[in-house]
């Protein structure tokens, strides 16, 4: 087993991500695939902030991911054709929704929390599905596309240049990951870990547990909606499936597959899962069965995920 200290591992991950558009084609990938992986990895990392580091089980993150996506898409289509504005509106939409719903569920725990997040998530699915005239209903929101970013002195053509779009995604991912890592290292983040490890003890120490869970939930959903708005821009399209509960499940399996207790776990999980989905859906019509089987196998034989397994091997 190769020995890596944490710092050089981090540097290696960033280097790999930074150069991805150049080495991906060499191993049979393409730049858009890289963007997709990074976007879904961002959503899974955001989920992991809540799931792995606060110990709260959300099964409804697709709602905020999808709200971000619809927010961005509708901004460009109806409001004003600007990519930064679209991202901003997407993030605000998702975050506000999460902040409003948060107090209702922050006092619930365990399976009850999970059930309520699923149920609340479906609200937005139904709205997107039913409100045909605005959201396009089941067919999704089409006939719009992302806009080149105008910086005044120059403009970045993210519409036609896949690499430029990748670097936009990369920048967003880097900022989001940086903020989350910084938060986790701060006293606030340590408090979240304390709640995860022993909620009762945290409460006895005078920590307002419910408020911390609410804050963690809002932060997590905020970055999930950022991922969602990027996802809409990537596809130049959004449909209600981005909001559905199976999308939430996908985020959870990515996180578990990579390793819940590790910061980079969701990224690795997202990469493996998307590769697998790509492979299966191009080889068999019954790919859903295999994805389902994959869920079952991961849960039964791989519950610690890739990074959890490596960590355990290197410590023993």
């Amino acid at each position: 087993m190769l020995k890596l200290d944490k710092r050089s591992a981090d540097a290696l991950v960033w280097l790999a991500l930074l150069t991805a558009p150049y080495w991906l084609p060499l191993i049979g990938g393409y730049t858009e695939l890289g963007s997709r992986i990074l976007i879904l990895a961002l959503a899974a990392t955001a989920l992991n902030f809540l799931l792995g580091f606060t110990g709260v089980l959300s099964f409804g993150h697709a709602a905020y991911f999808g709200l971000g996506a619809y927010g961005a898409a509708m901004t460009i289509k109806y409001l004003y054709p600007s990519t930064p504005l679209a991202i901003l509106v997407g993030v605000v939409t998702g975050t506000v929704a999460a902040a409003v719903i948060g107090p209702m569920i922050a006092r619930l725990r365990g399976v009850y929390f999970a059930m309520c997040t699923i149920a609340f998530g479906q609200v937005f699915y139904f709205i997107a599905f039913q409100w045909n005239t605005v959201t396009g209903g089941d067919d999704g929101l089409t006939a719009w596309h992302r806009m080149p970013i105008d910086l005044g002195f120059t403009s970045i053509d993210i519409l036609n240049d896949n690499k430029a779009f990748y670097y936009l995604v990369f920048t967003m991912f880097a900022v989001a990951a940086g903020v989350m890592a910084w938060l986790l290292r701060s006293p606030f983040g340590r408090t979240l870990l304390a709640i995860r490890e022993n909620e009762r003890r945290a409460r006895f120490l005078g920590i307002p547990v419910d408020r911390h869970i609410w804050m963690s939930w809002v932060i997590s959903c905020c970055f999930a909606s950022l991922a969602g708005s990027l996802y809409a821009l990537l596809n130049d399209f959004v449909d209600p499936r981005a909001l559905r509960w199976d999308q939430s499940g996908t985020f959870v399996i990515m996180t578990v597959l990579g390793g819940m207790r590790s910061f980079w776990g969701p990224l690795i999980g997202a990469a493996i899962f998307i590769e697998l989905q790509d492979f299966l859906s191009s080889h068999t019509e019954n790919w859903e069965s295999f994805i389902g089987l994959f869920f079952v196998l991961v849960v039964l034989f791989f519950p610690r995920g890739v990074l959890g397994l490596i960590k355990r091997k290197s410590t023993s």
Partner: protein, 288 residues
């Protein structure tokens, strides 16, 4: 207007009965084993498809009896092989497992029976309306209401009057003590899971007579069932029953006045309950 209102209330009551039946099964499993069974909708579909397959051999009534039992056996088998391994672990894992199962069941039924909707024959005399005035009240609907009522009564009798029911109720409160007192908890959870799946299978057989048979038939019923449990209160079966009927009737009545909100009203009820009474209508305090 009055007729429309009655029609939609009856309709809501029937739909609510379905929600309640699904939710009671989910609730049984959740209370005793702490597992949210995402695949519940899938088991409902399996019940429907088994009945469809059995009708040529056993007829309508034979299929009605046999299909839910067979579904329950499949459930018991799956519990033995897969779900049992996850008891006592983080609920995350059982959620993911049943989530994967839901995918497999939906795709599997599509693979075996095809994606297109299949016709489901109910006896002619059941399909006919009872009277001209109440044209919407077909015999089948009345029959469904009677059957669901009987099954729910039977369930509460089993839970209240039999030794198995006593053990299930006790296990819901404190499984460890029940185990220490010499009850085989593994068998208990297994049977309880089968009981829950039986209800899903029966709901499936009844639902296909009304909704037709498609692989994703369970999809539209699973979310309201979750909400029935949340509204009724976690850990309380009468609460679940009440929650199911309540949201069914509420969505039926809303259909009269504001059709596009018939789905949304369910979620509004859930939000109101969570704000005003987080433990649910009949839930015990401090359970979650």
């Amino acid at each position: 207007m009055t007729q429309l209102l009655i029609f939609n209330m009856v309709n809501g009551l029937i739909i609510g009965a379905f929600y309640a039946m699904m939710a009671l099964g989910l609730s049984l499993i959740l209370n005793l084993s702490g597992v949210i069974n995402f695949a519940h909708g899938g088991f409902l579909a399996i019940g429907g498809y088994i009945a469809y397959t059995l009708i040529p051999f056993l007829g309508f009534w034979g299929a009605l009896v046999a299909a839910p039992i067979l579904t329950a056996f499949i459930g018991i088998l799956i519990e033995r092989v897969l779900i049992r391994r996850l008891y006592g672990r983080d609920p995350l894992y059982s959620l993911l497992l049943t989530f994967g199962l839901a995918f497999m069941i939906e795709d599997g039924t599509r693979f075996i029976w095809g994606a297109q909707s299949l016709p489901y024959q109910i006896p002619d005399w059941l399909a006919a309306p009872l009277s001209n005035e109440l044209f919407f009240l077909t015999g089948y609907r009345v029959f469904m209401m009677v059957l669901v009522t009987a099954v729910v009564l039977a369930l509460f009798l089993i839970l209240g009057r039999t030794r198995l029911g006593l053990r299930i109720r006790a296990g819901t409160l404190d499984l460890e003590t029940v185990s220490v007192l010499g009850v085989n908890v593994r068998v208990l959870r297994n049977l309880n899971f089968g009981l829950g799946i039986y209800l899903a299978g029966l709901a499936g057989v009844l639902a296909v007579g009304m909704l037709g048979l498609q692989p994703n038939i369970g999809d539209s019923l699973i979310m309201p069932s979750f909400i029935s449990i949340i509204v009724g209160g976690l850990g309380s079966l009468p609460g679940t029953l009440l929650g199911g009927l309540l949201i069914g009737v509420a969505s039926g009545v809303t259909t009269v006045f504001f059709p596009s909100a018939s789905e949304a009203v369910i979620y509004v009820i859930m939000a109101v309950v969570l704000i005003v009474r987080p433990r649910g209508l009949l839930g015990e305090e401090g359970r979650f």
